[in-house]
Amino acid sequence: MFSYCADPSTLEGLKWMSCYLTTAKHMSLYWSFLTVLTLLAITAPAALLFGFGGASAARSRIAPLRWFGKAYIAIVRGVPDIAFFLFFVIALDQAFEWVRHQVKCPDWDEPIRQGNDFIVCQAAKLPLGNAPQWIHEVYGFSLAVLTFAIVFGAFAANVLYGAMRAVPRGQIETAEAYGMTSRQTFWRILVPQMWVYALPGLSNLWMVLIKATPLLFLLGVEDIVYWARELGGTKTARFTDYPHGDWRLWYFLALLVFYLAFTKVSEVFLDRLMRRLSHGQATMGAGS
């Protein structure tokens, strides 16, 4: 990056370090921080949406919808995250390709499963076989976001379900007494008031979600853990201009600091939000 970096073997100390930390490979590490932040920025609202849908379904008056909501919450919460992550990404990918295959290649006569192979016609491939690498990466990333949203949505659904029930009964009764329909009661009375009950649980989930982002690595997305491990590994002089020993400890220490700092900032922010939401809120004792 800098002009003096042409021959790193002659450099020492800070100068060497400044060259080392600005190699193209390190840039990939810095970009991957952005990947993680993007994931969080998209996943958190998506999971909340899934959660809201799940919670609303679970307390619905229509029985099949209620069963669906309860089953979603129970199943996803009961299965280990890691098993779900490994299962979902493959299953979702194959399900998408299967559907596209049925639509785009109706006259395909070979079986889709041939022994261990999962084969769909080229036009049904997702992304298409000739798509550039970045499309493959975006697709992989989207699958990861969807999986995260489904898994964390189930936990969020449970939190919101509880929060909806925590809104004082008197509030609902009063709304009904005013002649509001059940839909009006839900949107105008229940939803605005449930957040304060949901926030402690949701903030907890947010922390867990931050800490769960290294699972991206499991899904084949090159995240900060991947690059930290790759960059920290021993490098011999034959294969790099910057040989060094096993530095994984330092790289992982940097990750640790990053995660700690991030969760600390979140904590401060969530505290403030909590204080603001509790302002003027009807609580259990307030009515008496």
Binding site: T23, A24, K25, M27, S28, I90, D93, Q94, E97, Q114, G115, N116, D117, F118, I119, V120, Q122, A123, K125, L128, G129, N130, A131, Q133, H136, G220, E222, R229, E230, G233, T234, T236, A237, R238, F239, T240, D241, Y242, P243, D246, R248
Partner: protein, 240 residues
Amino acid sequence: MKKLILATTALALSAGIALADGHSVVRLGTEGAYAPWNFINDAGEVDGFERELGDELCSRAELTCEWVTNEWDSIIPNLVSGNYDAIMAGMSITAERDEVIDFTQNYSQPDPSSYLAKSADVDPATGVVAAQTNTIQASFIAEKGWTLLEFATPEETIAAVRDGEADAVLADTSYLTPIADEDAELTLLDKNELIGGGVGMGLRESDTELKAKFDAAIQSMKDDGSLNALIEKWEIGETF
């Protein structure tokens, strides 16, 4: 305007042709953590013996190829589910793997495996031996009934010996030699194991057409000696 429409039609047509062809872009999967076979260089790109070999094979087979990295553990499952079309990751041809995927002919000789340890008088039979999971070395140690310590990456197997967690690590000689050369603490034991049937390119069993193309390309590189030149350049082992 007419020109524009013509160009668009041409583009659409060529895209259609590219789609109709079985493999317009062949995606090559590798681990990127096993120098000199494959590794990520300072520029963040896949480099090494297999990178050069793969690029040459693709140009000989007139294919457009693209490199992707994947964890070693899931490298075969991701091939059969179609995330990429071929594996070039220093993968030895074994009967066990051959049941799940297909291999081209080998592009390296059966590579001798060596032990790397802190002192030359370590006996692997009585000590703890580290190896990467799902490798021929790991199954070799397991078959012998020795104490095996498995790790997900090659890097961790070396670190285990440095920390004293394992007494020795068993891996391809070509991988261990540069490490032993640079680290005064570590030495290669005076003992080699001949395991595996050479390294080949892994493909889906249903992908016979692609396999034939790569087989022919490897054969042509064997015939004109360019494969041997690459093996010598990267110090992979014996030539053909």
